[in-house]
Symmetry: C2
Amino acid sequence: MQPVQRPGGRSARVRTAVHEAVLDLLREDGWDDLNIALVAERSGVHQATIYRRWGTLNGLIDDVVHERLSQGSPVPDTGTLRGDLEAYALRLADDVAGPMASLYLRAAMLGSRGPEGETYMLNRAVQLQAMLDRAAARGERPPTLLELLEVVIAPLYYHAVFFNRPVGPDHARSLVDRLLALCGSSP
Amino acid sequence: MQPVQRPGGRSARVRTAVHEAVLDLLREDGWDDLNIALVAERSGVHQATIYRRWGTLNGLIDDVVHERLSQGSPVPDTGTLRGDLEAYALRLADDVAGPMASLYLRAAMLGSRGPEGETYMLNRAVQLQAMLDRAAARGERPPTLLELLEVVIAPLYYHAVFFNRPVGPDHARSLVDRLLALCGSSP
């Protein structure tokens, strides 16, 4: 009896192996040396398969970025404004650190063109607004979405992405403190 | 009588023409279509000259970025903390808008590797700290450098570079207001 053919399963495995190879190579050597021959060697997937599926190195990198963006992650719902903001800030600080920083930069460079980037940002904005609305419904005094973006999220990106200096947990919490003080919610 | 030979002058003119061609092409078509043949055509400089001087397209782009970064611009000295901060914020908002946004992103991607990027950031930090020290010497209550970076500069980069949505003058001033309120300097 022949094994069941699962082209979807194999296709997904190939995609995962190739994506992981791209991330490993970025982590080790950065962008300069990245090429499809290296990705093929690292992933164990034939170069021809990679070219057939992704066309070019840029096409492959775009696919990695968009897959990471589309994974996203649910915004926190801890029951308090401070709890939600701290959980979100701590996760984002982690998320933009390390080799992902250059992928986010890459996404940002593509962002003004690609609809995927805009869809992601719009979805994320809607989710964050819902998080703030839940706080207001509980009688808390949440900041505006713009204040959250500018006071907490922008500095997290700034430190990690521009300066390759990720923000630690205490620093991330201090940004949340600043935001809560700004909207009159600090204790 | 032969004209005086000025290889430095010609070399500088070639560099300017090639840099301007890169910026024009970025402004018009973005990164995807940029290549040395197009830069040669636009600048009127032979491809062979460009390859000899810059080696690769990446080498050329790095040179453009580093030249823009090294030009910098003096930090303001208007006589008041608010005046300095507003002048700085307004200029930065302009500076990171438009086609320069992608050059800054490119610089950020190179930043963690290149010593030029770090030298630029360090020089800039020293200048900004001197601006804040002048305010303290006048008896004003300036923010810390970190507060200035996080509350004003990070959002300016965030809006312009990540979202291709430059910050207008009123918005830039509101960031300065927030910073002054934070350090107890607002009226």
